[in-house]
Amino acid sequence: MIAEASDLTFTYDGTERPATPPVSLSLEAGRIHAIAGPNGGGKTMLARVLSGLAPSVFRGRLGGRGEVVGSPLPFLGGPPPTAGILTDSALAQLTGVRSTVAGEIGISLENRGWPPRQIRRRVGDLLASLGLEAVAERSPMTLSGASSSELWSPVPSPTSRLS
């Protein structure tokens, strides 16, 4: 399992009502899972909890229990490099402070203090796994829509902006 949760809830500091309903789930590695629900139903907050943003950045308290890649929640030290959030806007995934695709990918590991040699190897492996080695030195701002989506926003929310 890549992530598991049992009656997991998140409640903002200063409030009594949980921002998420109790969630129990098991996410298998190598599969794509969809979480559906109404606006305001807690989908985004669940993603923030699983990626370590809550309660380290979005302050509050967790109920129930959960673990991601073998580490129990919450991640009090902040978001771990093993989990992340990609939204359906490719441009919003860019930090803007790196002039190459490889640099843009590697900045997550720079911020976590990885040695440059290891970062280069890891980034190279990732690009190779996607068949995108050719764009490593390109500006991330000028990627084609397909390459950009594959790197920064591979699974757009199928229900976003529907009315």
Binding site: L53, V57, A83, T87, L91, V97, S99, T100, S108, G113
Partner: protein, 138 residues
């Protein structure tokens, strides 16, 4: 447009990772270093967004003459879309470790060369003189 065009020229001629690495090495606070570089980096996209909003509004019959409320109809959607994107980017930055306080590394290696010293020695006094000139209103 002149401001955005100037920034676009700056982005084209300046590697952003080297600029960011230099600011961090100069002990500029990391959030400030990020804000300075990102503001420059995304300026060209602001221009693109202005054009998109203008086209969308024009196709709905909005006129952008200075005597009308047209500019407000440009600024409103522009501001909203920029704020929406900023909220998404906040999550991007947090997940990618920008809020972490531990030691960080960088792939950008920017050696300080003799000609850098020469440029700094000539530019800094000129900048200081200009600032003083404008401040004192001479």
């Amino acid at each position: 447009m002149v401001l955005v065009g100037s920034l676009q020229l700056y982005v084209i001629t300046t590697p952003l990772d080297e600029l960011h690495a230099c600011l961090v090495r100069a002990r500029v606070a990391k959030p400030l270093a990020y804000a300075l570089v990102a503001a420059v980096a995304f300026a060209p996209h602001l221009r693109q967004r202005v054009l998109e909003v203008r086209d969308a509004q024009t196709s709905r019959g909005v006129r952008f003459g200075w005597g009308s409320l047209g500019p407000l109809k440009l600024i409103g959607p522009l501001l909203l879309s920029t704020l929406e994107e900023a909220a998404e980017r906040e999550v991007t930055l947090l997940v990618r470790g920008f809020g972490l306080t531990g030691r960080s590394t960088t792939l950008a290696h920017v050696p300080w060369r003799r000609r850098d010293t020469a440029v700094a020695a000539s530019v800094l006094p000129a900048a200081a003189t200009t600032l003083l000139w404008r401040t004192l209103g001479l």
